[in-house]
Symmetry: C2
Subunit: 314 residues, 2 copies
């Protein structure tokens, strides 16, 4: 098939790497990145959207290459001063980063939609492809933990450094949130959908939970392939493996593919992952070197994913 | 008289210098600084209180010694990034300074009063005397200008660098704003009141306009002395002389004393100002070297003001 329009679903760092590669390979009008918003939260009166920020900073070449999030060379004068006032200030707010939060929050207070704001910020810093929050309504990932009970995402992830044991995960607000018109439009136009190698429970599922997107995708007659975030029983980054274990899943690419079920009709496992060869009931499992350390890696993976989509029959 | 409790009314930089000197000479419980809030404004969703900040930073020894406002050594990474997003960003928001605005705004949104918040911030950074906004309600200095019509204070002062010609000044909200209980208490306890060498129209009058403070002060049987912001027909700093001219006043210490009228019963002119010797209908005019460049100057002036109050009969 000739691929014209691609939609990619992403969370933060892992998904951003894929999006970066794709943005360097596709023409801007060919790529729409749909981003998780269930990590978003209010902090010191600012609306902070960590995944949108990571995607934006990555695509604008602003991102800190070591962390994979935040702005390269950013300082923390504000945070240091907040601590001088006796604040705990557990969430890292870089000084440059603050400009994004302040501007976004101001525009939200003026009644603009997160979708419009994201487009405006992205264009202002030179991003040409389309970045869309999956919804303009608030959705919040809530983790039920053994140690602390119910935690909001950033408390779990940043404050407690994803150490609490997770019993259950829910996406507050997802039932009533609507896909934006822009997301509907992108899905109608899409020739293929790629699920980034993001955390299935913390990044992809909160996207799929909005507006029956999961069911909607299952019925789209186009390639819908997911990339594994698990290689040889380990997460490439972050708590994916830990959470799988705690929720009772086998820590494997196969378990991720099974979790996505009929929402996908193709899966990309890592070529290192020889122990867990498996097949999908529908579609094909492919193997790639999915690790993306350098920008060259990201572009190579993007090219290989596109080649699979264009050459494949599943 | 033995002076036990002193109240000083101040705006920004000039008043802060006097407050600094007094804070180094008096015991903390002896000094209450009542601060203008009519310069306060909302900017990028932050409640910014320039005069309270200048007083706080000065008393905490945080202030930039060159500007007399802002935090020493502060950076502007946030502001530079805001400009990268295409924003004009005409108001200087230092990165460290942002911590003050964020924390204050967050506490205001939680329903705390500006008075309580100011006390909390000041104590957190080691300030022991009492700093009080004159009111917890919003008051806004509005300038009717020849070039731009009606301007809010910061537009006039920062955006247009106080260059527009002023026809009229009003203090929006002052009629309905109430003095806080803390201000009432401080005034009841006060043995003397000093009007700082701040701009009479932009700093002191918006204080006096709240809750009939002007009339209230006129009836207090204690020394109420004002320090001149005008020396030899020139403002020590800022637009005081320019505004006096535009509003039709003679640019002189005498005109300032007359403007305060019966609200004061004592006046301190600068000793350089020999051309404009004058007397008050009630009380005494004294002469001092009122210029405060160094911290030693501030302490000397504070000591001399206290000596006048303690030694004087008017």
């Amino acid at each position: 098939m000739a691929l014209n329009k691609l939609v990619v679903l992403v969370g933060g760092v892992g998904g951003a790497k894929l999006a970066y590669g794709l943005s360097r390979v596709l023409a801007p009008e060919q790529l729409t990145v749909i981003v998780n918003v269930a990590d978003d939260f209010w902090h010191y009166g600012l609306r902070i959207c960590p995944d949108l920020d990571t995607i934006m900073y990555t695509l604008a070449d602003w991102v800190d290459p070591v962390n994979g999030w935040g702005i390269h060379g950013d300082t923390t004068e504000m945070l240091t001063t907040l601590r001088a006032y006796g604040e705990v200030a557990w969430f890292r707010l870089g000084d440059r980063d603050l400009a994004t939060h302040l501007l976004r929050t101001e525009l939200l207070r003026q009644g603009e939609r997160l979708t419009t704001i994201t487009g405006r910020l992205a264009r202002a810093i030179g991003i040409q492809c389309t970045i869309l929050p999956v919804t303009d309504q608030p959705v919040s990932t809530i983790l039920e933990t053994v140690e602390y009970g119910r935690l909001e995402f950033q408390e779990y992830f940043v404050k407690h450094r994803w150490q609490p044991e997770v019993r259950q995960i829910s996406y507050q607000g997802a039932n009533t949130a609507q896909l934006s018109d822009e997301v509907h439009h992108a899905l109608r136009q899409a020739d293929a959908i790629v699920f980034g190698p993001s955390n299935p429970w913390l990044s992809i599922e909160p996207i799929l939970s909005v507006g029956n997107l999961r069911e909607h995708l299952s019925q789209l007659p186009i390639p819908r392939i997911a990339m594994t975030p698990i290689i040889e029983g380990q997460a490439v980054k972050g708590p994916a493996a830990k959470i799988m274990r705690e929720l009772g899943y086998e820590v494997s690419a196969r378990a991720v593919a099974e979790f996505y079920g009929t929402t996908i009709n193709g899966f990309i496992r890592d070529q290192r992952d020889t122990a867990f060869t498996f097949s999908l009931s529908e579609g094909r499992v492919s193997a790639l070197d999915t690790l993306m350390h350098t920008n060259e890696d990201k572009i190579r993976v993007a090219q290989q994913v596109l080649a699979l989509l264009e050459g494949g029959d599943g």
